[in-house]
Symmetry: C2
């Protein structure tokens, strides 16, 4: 069976950690293209990243937005396949050096060019063109929101590589809506991971959805 165009976000509830995450992952590993791990789970330890990578590729959603020295200091402590950073921090002494480090490690870089929440429209999403230009030079893929379908279409027209799209489910976009507009995969978290039957629910939400 082909995998669903879905990246499962493994952000645990406040009182949960890696046991919760690995349980969900075990249930989904044959269905999805990757697992997304963020800071909440990493704060419960980084030792299980290798175990998770054996199930599916791991995208670290660190939303890195710092100087190169610090970003590199962070990623050298972690196991992963791809990492998400913010395009807006710019190239020199930031993303360019991060890219060089990722090249050495043979890992992927995704850059956030726009976000899914309402406040993103104040500043960040107004800069999407500049962010895409930075991504052109440095990124394997971008992150662009399912909650802004018109923006997603504009971005897809000018961006030839991978697009991951968050904002599906709790945040308001419908499952498969971003994939239909050209995203390679949708990032989905709470909607599925808090469901009592996550595997069945995911299969139902994405039945007939193709990237």
């Amino acid at each position: 069976m082909a995998r669903l165009p879905v990246v499962i976000s493994l952000d645990p509830p406040k009182d949960k950690g890696w046991d919760w995450a690995l349980g969900i992952a075990e249930e989904m590993k044959d269905l999805v293209v990757a697992f997304k791990v963020g800071w909440p789970l990493l704060l419960e330890g980084k030792e299980k990243l290798g175990t998770l990578r054996e199930m599916a590729p791991v995208v670290l959603d660190l939303k890195l937005a710092d100087i190169s020295f610090t970003m590199i200091n962070i990623i050298r402590r972690l196991e992963f396949d791809a990492v998400i950073a913010h395009a807006f921090v710019g190239r020199e002494k930031a993303l360019r050096e991060l890219r060089e480090e990722l090249n050495k490690q043979d890992k992927e870089l995704y850059l956030v060019v726009a976000m899914s929440h309402k406040g993103a429209d104040e500043l960040l999403n107004r800069m999407w063109r500049e962010n895409v230009l930075i991504a052109y030079e440095l990124a394997d893929g971008i992150v662009a929101p399912a909650t802004r379908p018109e923006l997603l279409v504009k971005i897809r027209k000018v961006w030839p590589r991978k697009v991951l799209s968050p904002g599906v489910g709790v945040q308001g976009a419908r499952p498969c809506s971003a994939v239909k507009l050209g995203a390679d995969a949708e990032i989905i978290g709470r909607t599925v991971t808090r469901n009592p039957s996550p595997r069945e629910y995911l299969l139902r939400l994405y039945s007939g959805c193709k990237a």
Copy 2:
């Protein structure tokens, strides 16, 4: 003795962690206004934050730049006195809800309005006015770079609350230069923490420097 207008950044070298950080902190705790802890140290565990807070206030430099759900999910797992986030992610469903959570916990929020590295001039530092306006509504203090003295002066003229200034030392700005331009404290890391006699070196760098 009055404390120096300095926040010490406890980002450890790749092969070091909390033993290194607590050793530096023990040596400096009577001299500085706070310690800054970032993701590299947190990836070595979060259990020692309480121990560090007994020495001096702890500013978590997480450069948060995510939706409110995730930012709150992160900070609820940590002990701290103040946290640094990025202004550019905007208010609704992001910084506004983060502020509300910090109010409940009686903790401070610092927002990055401009950064110290060269790439910051591409996008982020062009938005400093908009970032300051967001900070007006939501922040106890801001983070603005010592490496851009002209910008720092402009920001200080329109920003009445606290200013923390990174970029001193390795990144190029001279110790005390930002304090002289109105910053409340300078953030300094590697220059001091990698020195063989960090306490003596810090005292020498900041002799005669007053906020």
